[in-house]
């Protein structure tokens, strides 16, 4: 999943550098908060460990192929997410410089696609919530597989987004995504299983090595929401940039069939509904009237934000309802 410089435009490369740099500065701040001099060599050696372990092939039963470990989730489980993110930066930088695996300009993208999603999204939104009440073999497997699969899916999707926005490749976004996602679903599952196998071994032999903070019964909804928000804003914003250049799949199909982008709605009910929609829509047709990039991007972010907000609202309502039901049960 390492991206090459050739696939990127300077603007996309620079923007992703900025995003990764902000995350790195925040991680440095967090690591310094509970800093012990001993942590630095441990982080360094663990980085080298993941580097070496990634080169070992694991045979996948029933197939002729092999897989590797998923570095981000494993490091986050051992060192905590912030130290893991810094270790991943070191690994990606060395891979890029020494082995030409990923470009120098693309480093920001690679850090984001491979380290951010695994260390923050994978850890805070999946790994930690699953194992927060204590570890077990089943929980480790579930947390590792889900963490690896979803962070890899987001990473692969971001590769397609970053390449398409850069405008270097002529490959349509839909074809790119259709090729990337299924492959990374398989890779993520295998990487998750290998990561789980290693974590189970550590848990059963030297559990003190695992990051203790993960099992503390302290669930930070704020952190989950912030990370989800960042993912939604970035993916949503980038996706709408892509959408502005490629018409939406449905509109495209309509265009192919009727020769127009939107269907004529001369039936009175349709006309009335369309009128209502036109009046109530804050951002008609996902833009500010004209087709400028800032407008589409902004409306993409707003739209994603609204969807995320709706999901959070539903989750909160569901949570309150569940609590109430539990209280009722306890009363009786």
């Amino acid at each position: 999943m390492h991206m090459a410089d050739a696939l990127l435009s300077p603007a996309v490369g620079g923007a992703m550098y900025a995003a990764s740099a902000v995350t790195a500065i925040y991680s440095v701040k967090k690591v310094k908060e509970d800093f012990s001099p001993k942590k630095v060599p441990v982080m360094g050696v663990m980085g080298a460990f993941v580097f070496a372990a990634q080169m070992i092939n694991f045979s996948i039963p029933g197939t002729g192929s092999s897989g590797h470990i998923c570095g981000g989730i494993l490091l986050a489980a051992l060192l905590g997410p912030y130290a893991a993110f810094l270790s991943m930066i070191a690994i990606l930088l060395i891979q890029c410089l020494l082995f030409a695996d990923g470009g120098i300009l693309a480093l920001g993208c690679n850090i984001w696609n491979m380290a951010f999603y695994a260390c923050f999204f994978g850890y805070f939104c999946l790994y930690k919530p699953i194992i927060k009440n204590g570890m077990s073999r089943a929980k480790i497997v579930l947390a590792s597989v889900l963490g690896c699969v979803l962070s890899l899916q987001l990473g692969a999707f971001s590769v397609a987004l970053e390449t398409t926005i850069s405008g270097i490749s002529e490959l349509p976004f839909s074809v790119f995504v259709a090729a990337m996602q299924p492959i990374h679903l398989a890779i993520g599952t295998i990487e998750g299983l290998i990561t789980a196998a290693v974590l189970i071994f550590v848990f059963e032999t030297r559990p003190e090595l695992l990051n203790a903070e993960a099992t503390e019964n302290k669930f930070s909804l704020k952190k989950v929401l912030v990370i989800m928000g960042i993912v939604v804003v970035l993916v949503g914003g980038a996706l709408s940039l892509v959408a502005s250049s490629n018409p939406d799949g449905l509109e495209w199909s309509i265009g192919q069939v009727t020769g127009k982008d939107e269907l004529d709605t001369d039936v009175s009910v349709h006309a009335a509904l369309a009128d209502v929609q036109e009046k109530t829509a804050v951002l008609p047709d996902y833009s500010f009237g004209n087709d400028n990039i800032a407008g589409t991007s902004f409306s993409g972010i707003v739209g994603s934000g609204l969807v995320a907000g709706l999901c959070i609202l539903l989750a909160v309502i569901f949570g309150v309802y569940k609590k109430k039901k539990k209280a009722d049960v306890e009363k009786t």
Binding site: L8, G44, A53, L86, I89, L97, L105, L209
Partner: protein, 267 residues
């Protein structure tokens, strides 16, 4: 396992060639880092149909290979890591963009063909740019440059330590894998039953090593701050190197040098 021993060899080889003496090797690491980033930046900023402009950027690798004495042959090995993906993307371009651009001896050249070609050239040039940095600058010097750029100390130390320990842990992994292969000669990879214990053992050895390393560092006066080896200060030649390359990149990028040269020959 070939992959692990290849990687160990690669790290040692890069360390050796970065340590030789040449005018390019003597340039200040920060200057080389800035010039490399600028080179890659200018290279990727070329329009996807501007093959003739992009070709002029080959000046930089040609100059640096000849001035530094680094072998070009070895750099081809580096290209094989990232190039297959770039080639695949480049090959697909002619299929997705068939707009004709011009006729060449009766063959219609499409936009997709040209953009595929620029993608390939960009891929080669950017990898060479990065390779020329690492093959003429030791990683300690790059870390020193990052330090000058105010990259947080903890991150710089992290890069340095990871790099130093890569060869140690690669050979550790190699020992484990070789021992495993000798007991399971016909297997392609590690059997799923020992996935956890094999890597787990490597992990424990790594952690024990980290503890030993920390103790050794403390005995030598380590208190949380890492001291970088002293590197020579920037000389006037370094400023000249920076200015010349920046000016050259700007000229190559913003003037159509090939068209200008061509017009001298074609009326």
């Amino acid at each position: 396992m070939g992959k692990l021993s290849d990687a160990i060899y690669e790290v040692h080889y890069m360390d050796t060639i970065a340590g030789i003496d040449s005018p390019i090797h003597r340039v200040h690491p920060l200057v080389k880092l800035i010039v490399t980033v600028a080179y890659i930046w200018f290279t990727v900023s070329f329009n996807k149909y501007d093959v003739t402009g992009l070709i002029t950027m080959v000046v930089y690798p040609v100059a640096l290979f000849s001035l530094s004495g680094i072998s070009f042959g070895h750099s081809i090995k580096k290209l094989r890591v990232i190039l297959p993906f770039v080639i695949l993307m480049g090959i697909l371009n002619p299929f997705f963009n068939r707009e004709p651009l011009f006729l060449l001896y009766g063959i219609t050249i499409t936009e997709g063909m040209v953009s595929g070609l620029t993608l390939l050239i960009k891929g080669i040039l950017t990898v060479l740019g990065g390779y020329l940095l690492i093959s003429t600058t030791r990683i300690e010097a790059i870390c020193y440059a990052l330090n000058l750029l105010r990259v947080p100390e903890i991150l710089v130390t992290q890069i340095l330590l990871t790099y130093r320990y890569i060869t140690v842990l690669l050979s550790e992994a190699n020992h484990i894998f070789e021992a495993y292969s000798l007991r399971a000669p016909s297997q392609k990879g590690i059997h799923y039953k020992v996935w956890g214990s094999l890597i787990g053992q490597l992990l424990f050895r790594s952690i024990d090593r980290a503890t030993g390393l920390y103790d050794a560092m403390v005995l030598r006066g380590y208190n949380g701050n890492f001291r970088h080896s002293q590197l020579p200060k920037a000389r006037w030649q370094d400023s000249a190197y920076l200015l010349v390359w920046m000016a050259a990149f700007a000229v190559l990028r913003y003037t159509s040098l090939t068209a200008l040269i061509g017009s001298l020959f074609v009326r």
